[in-house]
Subunit: 163 residues, 2 copies
């Protein structure tokens, strides 16, 4: 009970390796959040270099694939909260990537439309994100990347149904 305490704190000079406790190394939740921290940083910095944020991409992709929609619709499709959607759309309109116009059929809504410039931007961001994901998933083979994505999708699906 007292023999093996202070094993490295005084004796061993702590050679480089951060010595993560095994309990933590095995914890899926921890692996997830740690990896996500790195991943988010990687993606955010990459997108920032292209004057974009991931929310921009989400909105542009949604508009491209499903056509125009109200802010609330976009909110549901992208998972961005409607509170935060306001700012995102401000940024996108500033850059001329989308257009925000009041919906004549329902004057509570704004109709958001992607612009030609927005489409070009989306294609650009597709490339940027492709490269970034190559970096993110570098240690994995194509097959493993697929496995990984499938596992993530299954877990995410389960926890969104069971919300």
């Amino acid at each position: 009970m007292s023999a093996m305490t202070r094993a490295e704190a005084a004796d061993v000079p702590d050679d480089g390796a951060p010595q993560t406790p095994e309990r933590l190394r095995r914890l899926a939740s921890r692996l997830l959040s740690q990896l996500t921290t790195r991943s988010d940083r990687l993606i955010n910095e990459g997108l920032a270099r292209a004057d974009a944020r991931k929310w921009h991409y989400a909105v542009l992709a949604s508009l491209q694939e499903y056509g125009p929609g109200s802010q609330a619709t976009l909110s549901r499709r992208t998972g961005i909260y409607r509170s935060d959607m306001v700012g995102v759309l401000n940024e996108l309109t500033e850059r001329g990537l989308v257009e925000r116009a009041p919906d004549p059929d329902d004057r509570r809504r704004n109709t958001i439309t992607i612009s030609p410039r927005g489409r070009r931007r989306l294609r650009r961001l597709d490339k940027v994100l492709d490269e970034l994901h190559d970096e993110l998933l570098a240690p994995l083979s194509p097959v493993e990347r697929d496995q990984f994505a499938r596992l993530l999708t299954r877990l995410l699906d389960h926890h969104t149904r069971t919300s």
Copy 2:
């Protein structure tokens, strides 16, 4: 260019399904952060019910496995920033789970020691976390859980070496 716009915003009443764009569904970074959001919430709420936070677990596990250490050492072992470590250790000492005493050999440091109560708490939290991870990984078979953990570990390792 105008035929398929407003495809669902007006015509279809948007039946339940949130219609996530395919571009987003395939994005590993997005899957990661979405899942981590859910995972973090699950874990945080579960630990909160046991009057704990995940940082508590990290520190207790580190102390148990490697013995006492200074706050800076703990910081490196757990990945918690030294700025935040202060508060965590306050909470842990308040609950009598660790002891913080000035190190006589180096008066800059505090030596943090786990208490018997801390050890009991750690065992309790082991159980709590086991149950929570069962919920988190529910859709996966044991083999798949292992695959998942290995993939995460490999990715994380890669991005910590290449930090």
